[in-house]
């Protein structure tokens, strides 16, 4: 069992957890993920590592309550125990020293996993420019943490309630016009956002790495649920990724594959809500 040592509620559906899992924290690296199962009947859900503390033996993650299992997780409190917690999984981010600035783009809760990559790139001596965005001010997370590892931080909200108004892609285009030479870019966020970023950077021939978060079960290459079409190849996000060359990823297919169990997920969530009595039907 893995105790929750800290919980921060960022907004009604966005929650940050720090979980005591020393074996995972010992090996965790930027870009990797882990899988948890909160209780006997819950799904195994893959979550990207947002931070880790080897001394304390903890892993930090930020979740958005979407399906039944992530909602169950979101309802847990400090001191509660997670049944299963396994990792770190996947290939770590490739960190190197680049000649020109590197850009980190985080959208929504994707800001959290972009943080340790930014930190490592900064520590490796890079000029780090971060662009973070959310729908509105309430949903924006980790601005201070991102500022602490960035030479320049650009904050956007879709509705203009904070920072500059507009999408992260708009901010990126302006940055490119201003700076021209960039060495590499990482983008983590909802699939449509990552697709939009890759469409922007493709004509610039800028190395663009995205972190895929497909359906997954075991996370060790066994089930094949996490297949991603990358160029002409089929890759398993769990063992080959989760990071891939964004210009080669078939996002249209990836987005469709995310919805395979959409109807069942709705049903599971409905059952969960009925049990909790939130719907008022009981």
């Amino acid at each position: 069992m893995y105790p929750i040592v800290k919980k921060i509620i960022h907004s009604p559906a966005v929650k940050e957890f720090e979980v005591y899992a020393p074996m995972v924290a010992e090996k965790a690296k930027a870009g990797q993920f882990f899988i948890l199962r909160v209780s006997e009947k819950a799904e195994r859900i893959p979550l990207t590592i947002a931070d880790y503390n080897r001394e304390q033996g903890t892993i930090t993650t930020i979740i958005q309550e979407l399906g039944a299992s992530s909602t169950l997780f979101g309802q847990m409190e400090e001191g509660d125990h997670i049944l299963d917690f396994v990792g770190p999984l996947g290939v770590p981010s490739e960190i190197e020293r680049y000649d020109h600035p590197v850009v980190l783009v985080g959208g929504g809760i994707g800001i959290a996993p972009i943080f340790p990559i930014a930190r490592d790139l900064k520590e490796a001596g890079n000029e780090v420019i971060s662009i973070i965005g959310a729908r509105n001010k309430e949903l924006l997370i980790w601005e201070e943490k991102m500022a602490s590892v960035s030479d320049q931080l650009i904050v956007c909200t879709d509705d203009g309630s904070y920072g500059r108004q507009g999408f992260v892609t708009d901010a990126l285009k302006d940055l490119y016009e201003e700076r021209g030479q960039l060495s590499a870019l990482w983008a983590i966020g909802p699939m449509p956002m990552m697709r939009a970023i890759t469409n922007v950077t493709r004509p610039w021939e800028l190395k663009t790495i995205v972190s895929m978060n497909p359906l997954m079960m075991d996370g060790t290459g066994m089930c094949g649920a996490c297949r991603v079409q990358v160029g002409s190849e089929t890759k398993f996000a769990c063992v080959d990724g989760p990071e891939f060359d964004g210009h080669l990823v078939d996002f249209d297919l990836a987005i469709k594959r995310l919805s395979i169990y959409k109807d069942q997920e709705k049903r599971a969530l409905a059952v969960l809500e009925h049990k909790g009595g939130h719907c008022g039907c009981q």
Partner: protein, 483 residues
């Protein structure tokens, strides 16, 4: 009694096909004690038993069968467990017809003795007895002398520490023997339960998970330490284990990576690896959705590609999940199918269709990215290939469209790369399996390997046999290290 006058092989009582396709309960119900004794008496008790040569874990077959014939089930169980750590599992999933039973002398003129069914009977008998005894102990709620002596036996100082990576059939059988030899054995498992393919792959209706759990419990009683949520190559490496004082390591990480055919459309929604489909159903209990939260989709018209045991399991699972039409699609004929005879027979009885000499060349999707069918070719059989089976040759101009809304790919698995890629100096074969000798010795001293990670995807019992041989080699290695 001459062979001629012997009674025929006792039939296995089964749930009726029309009934069982709508539930996940076990299909084969097991012999009654009376049936078991009749069947055991069919054994000739050969002086040089050939059946034993056919068993990868060298079960004392005539010995345990004699005990059954005598009605002495306790002795039978002891004889069985001497060699086989998982008899209740093997009695259910071993391909006996191509192993022990294929060598049975009775089988020359009549049907062979039902060794597998007897093994299952004895193992189940013992489990039932243990359960009854445990219930009695719980009732009394006292510690008697017997228990004390047992715990002091297990507390005797253990020999060196040995690590096993992977709690599947190979790892568990290796662990059981090493624990019996007195070693301090820890098994590291990546999933949240031990058992490997026995838990995630083989369905409940063929191998009840409660049976697997009980077998694993009996390993715990032997003193084997089991740690779940530990991914070899990720959470820890072989080198980490050596640094932590494990003097030998056995790698039994299996054939995890599902193969695909490499045809267009394989990543469409509705195309599943059999591993995904079966793991959702078995390990995550998707058949009990939404009580359990992991969903599984069977589709209405299902094509299962492949004809091994995994394909039969997937097809029969799809029927139970409510699919209207399920077809095994296989490019050779039924004769070449690698599945156990009983699985093919059960699939037939349950209404699985067999579209043999057929293979897809493309999976076709609709606008939403969902499977709507497959373009297929018909085949005929040509000359035998290197496997000795007649090579399937496509018939020119035979292309046709098969309408399906779900495709389950069950054409085998490759070796899992996580441990092999993270272990420097470990020699691999071209296909990524580990190079090991007959006893599982690898290119690294103190590192052993066995099961599917060495042979490529094979059977539960072959993996168990490999684990057993490695246990002996590890014992030798550690003894020579000490002296």
């Amino acid at each position: 009694m001459s062979v001629k006058n012997r009674p025929g092989r006792q039939e296995m009582p089964c749930q009726a096909p029309q009934e069982r396709v709508s539930n996940f309960n076990e299909v084969a119900l097991g012999y009654t004690e009376e049936q078991a004794i009749i069947e055991a008496k069919r054994c000739l008790q050969c002086k040089k038993p050939k059946c034993r040569d056919g068993c990868p874990v060298e079960v004392l077959i005539p010995e345990f069968i004699q005990a059954v014939a005598d009605g002495d089930m306790a002795t039978a169980a002891k004889q069985l467990k001497l060699k086989n750590a998982l008899p209740a599992v093997c009695g259910r999933v071993c391909p006996q017809e191509s192993q022990c039973e294929s060598k049975c002398i009775v089988g020359i003129k009549s049907e062979p003795v039902a060794i597998g069914r007897l093994e299952r009977f004895v193992a189940d008998w013992e489990m039932a007895k243990e359960e009854a005894e445990e219930a009695k102990v719980a009732d009394l709620d006292t510690v008697d002398g017997d228990q004390e002596s047992e715990s002091s036996a297990t507390a005797s100082p253990k020999k060196q520490k040995v690590a096993i990576i992977g709690a599947g059939p190979a790892g568990l059988s290796c662990a059981a023997d090493l624990a019996r030899f007195g070693y301090d054995v820890t098994v590291f498992e990546a999933l949240h339960v031990a058992g490997g393919v026995l838990m995630y792959g083989i369905p409940e209706f063929r191998l009840p998970k409660a049976i697997v759990e009980k077998e694993i419990d009996s390993l715990r009683k032997l003193g084997v330490n089991l740690q779940v949520n530990m991914v070899g190559g990720k959470t820890f490496t072989v080198e980490d284990l050596q640094q932590k004082g494990y003097e030998a390591v056995f790698i039994g990480t299996g054939a995890g990576l599902p193969n695909f055919m490499g045809i267009p459309g394989e990543n469409l929604c509705g195309v599943f690896a059999a591993n995904e489909f079966l793991t959702r159903t078995n390990l995550m209990k998707g058949y009990d959705f939404p009580n359990f939260l992991t969903p599984v989709i069977s589709g209405r018209k299902v094509a299962v590609l492949g004809a091994g045991n995994v394909a039969m399991d997937a097809a029969r699972t799809a029927l139970r999940l409510g699919a209207e039409e399920v077809s095994i699609v296989y490019r050779r004929s039924e004769k070449e199918m690698p599945a156990r005879a009983e699985e093919i027979e059960h699939a037939h009885e349950e209404g699985v269709q067999f579209k043999v000499l057929t293979n897809p060349v493309e999976i076709v999707g609709d606008e939403q990215g969902w499977v709507k069918g497959m373009n297929c070719l018909r085949y005929e059989l040509g000359e035998p290939d290197e496997s000795g089976r007649r090579r399937p040759v496509p018939v020119e101009g035979s292309e046709f469209f098969m309408e399906v809304d779900s495709v389950i790919v069950a054409i085998g698995q490759g070796p899992n790369p996580l441990v092999t890629q993270s272990t420097a100096g470990l020699a691999l074969n071209r296909k990524g399996t580990i190079q090991a000798d007959e006893e599982g010795r690898t290119s690294l001293p103190g590192v052993f390997a066995g099961g599917d990670i060495v042979t490529g995807a094979a059977t539960v019992i072959l993996a168990m046999g490999a684990g057993k041989k490695s246990a002996r080699a590890i014992d030798q290695y550690l003894q020579s290290k000490q002296s």
